[in-house]
C-alpha cells in the first residue's frame, strides 16, 4: 500500500476517507515499492 500525506500529516482513514483535504493543501503520495 502506498503512503499518503496531506501536508505533513499522514492520511489515516482508508476506509471512510474522512481525512480532510483543503484546496491549498499539498498531497504527497509515495509509491509502494517491493521486490528485488
Amino acid at each position: 500500500m502506498s503512503r499518503i500525506y496531506v501536508n505533513g500529516r499522514p492520511v489515516s482513514d482508508r476506509q471512510r476517507l474522512s481525512d480532510l483535504v483543503g484546496a491549498r493543501d499539498e498531497i504527497y503520495v509515495f509509491q509502494a515499492l517491493s521486490g528485488g
Binding site: 500500500m1 503512503r3 500525506y5 501536508n7 505533513g8 489515516s12 499539498e26 504527497y28 509515495f30 509509491q31 509502494a32 515499492l33 517491493s34 521486490g35 528485488g36
Partner: protein, 362 residues
C-alpha cells in the same frame, strides 16, 4: 577465518564450506521453503527462520551434532481491546534478523511487524520486548517493501557491553537502549528522507534505515545503508554524516563493517529506487577504507555485462577476520572474497533468490 557460510534463499537453506578446491555447497535444508534469517555459532549450531506465508513464521535449530529440530517461534500477545488504533498487527509476520546477544544463550530476533524478541535459552523460548512495543511512537512506524508492516532489520549489540543495543527499523530510524531493552530512545540525527514532506524530511522516525553495521573493535562506529544514501556515525548512531563519495550510486540495501578497522566498510550499490538493478548492468562492491571519504569500486570476478542482481540488506556479510566476504543476490548469484573484496569467486551452483548470508564464526 571462517570456512563456513550459511545462505538463506527463497527455496531453502544452503551451507557453503571452504574445501581444498574452493567453496562448495555441502548441505541443503528446507528445500522449497523461504528462509528469512539465519545465524550460526562457532560450535556448529545454526538457527534458521522460515517465512511460510499463510502457514506462518517458523524457527528451526541445528544442534552441534547436526540434528535439526523446530523451536517455538516468537509470539505476540493478543491485541488488547484498547489497542484498536494501533495500525500494526500483533502477530508475527516474519523473523527478519537473528543476532547473538553477547551473553551465553541470549539471542535477539528482529521481526515484522516491528517486535523485538529476546531469548536467554538459545532460542528455546522468546519474550517480546514490551518497553519498545508499548512506546506510543511505535504506532507511527511505517511499513516496508510495499507492505504495511514495519520491520526491525538490524540489532547491534555492543560486544563489550551486551546491555547496549541499537536497532535499525524500516521505517522508523535508529533506536537505542543502554539497559538491555528496559527503555528505548529514538536517537538518529543527520539523516534525511528526500521523498517526505519538507517538514518531515529530517525527522528521525521518518528515516528508512535499510541496514546498520557496527565495527566490533570500535562499536561506536556504525555504518548505515539508508534509502537515500550511505551514512556513518562515530557516536553509536546518535549523529550521522552522509558519505557523498559513494559510487557508482548511493542507493542499496546491504552494508558490512570491518570488524577491526573502523575506517573500512563495504556496500553493494544499485540504481535508486524503483529500478533496483546494478548501475549499467554491472555488479560491483563499493569499499571505503578511509571512513567514507573515498570509495573504491571492486569488480574483479563479478559479472560486468547484463547483470541485474540486487543484493538485499541481509545478503552481505564479512567474517571476523575482515578478509572473507560473501554476498548473494535476488538472481541467485553468490560471490565470496578471501581478500577483502579485491577479487570474488562463485561456488558452482545456481541458487534461488538469496535473502541472507551469514558466516559461521570461528
Amino acid at each position: 577465518m571462517s570456512d563456513r557460510l550459511h545462505v538463506g534463499t527463497r527455496k531453502g537453506l544452503f551451507e557453503v564450506a571452504r574445501r581444498s578446491g574452493g567453496w562448495e555447497i555441502t548441505d541443503a535444508q528446507f528445500l522449497g521453503d523461504p528462509v528469512s534469517a539465519v545465524l550460526a555459532d562457532a560450535e556448529g549450531a545454526v538457527w534458521a527462520a522460515l517465512d511460510l506465508g499463510h502457514f506462518g513464521a517458523k524457527l528451526w535449530h541445528r544442534d552441534r551434532a547436526g540434528a535439526w529440530r523446530e523451536l517455538e517461534a516468537p509470539m505476540f500477545p493478543p491485541k488488547p481491546d484498547d489497542a484498536g488504533d494501533d495500525p500494526h498487527p500483533w502477530s508475527l509476520g516474519k523473523i527478519w534478523t537473528l543476532e547473538p546477544g553477547g551473553v551465553a544463550g541470549r539471542l535477539w530476533a528482529g521481526t515484522m511487524p516491528g517486535g523485538l524478541f529476546r531469548s536467554d535459552d538459545g532460542g528455546e523460548s522468546w519474550s517480546l520486548n514490551e518497553p519498545l512495543w508499548h512506546m506510543p511512537e511505535r504506532r507511527r512506524w511505517n511499513g516496508v517493501a510495499g507492505g504495511e508492516q514495519p520491520g526491525i532489520n538490524s540489532v547491534l549489540v555492543d560486544p563489550g557491553n551486551p546491555a547496549d543495543i541499537r536497532i535499525g527499523v524500516s521505517t522508523a530510524g535508529v533506536w537505542a537502549s543502554t539497559d538491555t531493552g528496559g527503555s528505548w530512545d529514538l536517537i538518529n540525527r543527520g539523516m534525511y528522507a528526500e521523498y517526505m514532506p519538507p517538514e518531515l524530511r529530517e525527522e528521525p522516525i521518518a528515516q528508512d534505515v535499510h541496514r546498520l553495521a557496527r565495527c566490533t573493535a570500535r562499536p561506536e562506529i556504525v555504518w548505515c545503508q539508508h534509502h537515500n544514501g550511505v551514512f556513518r556515525s562515530q557516536d553509536a548512531g546518535n549523529t550521522w554524516r552522509e558519505l557523498t563519495a559513494v559510487r557508482p550510486s548511493k542507493f542499496g540495501f546491504a552494508v558490512a563493517a570491518h570488524p577491526r578497522d573502523p575506517n573500512t566498510a563495504w556496500f553493494v550499490p544499485a540504481i535508486k529506487d524503483e529500478r533496483r538493478i546494478p548501475v549499467d548492468g554491472k555488479v560491483v562492491v563499493a569499499r571505503s577504507r578511509d571512513s567514507g571519504e573515498n570509495f573504491e569500486i571492486l569488480r574483479h570476478g563479478l559479472p560486468q555485462r547484463h547483470a541485474y542482481d540486487l543484493v538485499w540488506r541481509h545478503a552481505l556479510d564479512v567474517d571476523a577476520s575482515g578478509e572473507r566476504l560473501a554476498f548473494g543476490s535476488t538472481s541467485g548469484g553468490l560471490w565470496i572474497s578471501e581478500d577483502g573484496g579485491e577479487s570474488w569467486t562463485m561456488p558452482e551452483a545456481r541458487l534461488p533468490p538469496i535473502a541472507a548470508v551469514r558466516f559461521a564464526p570461528e
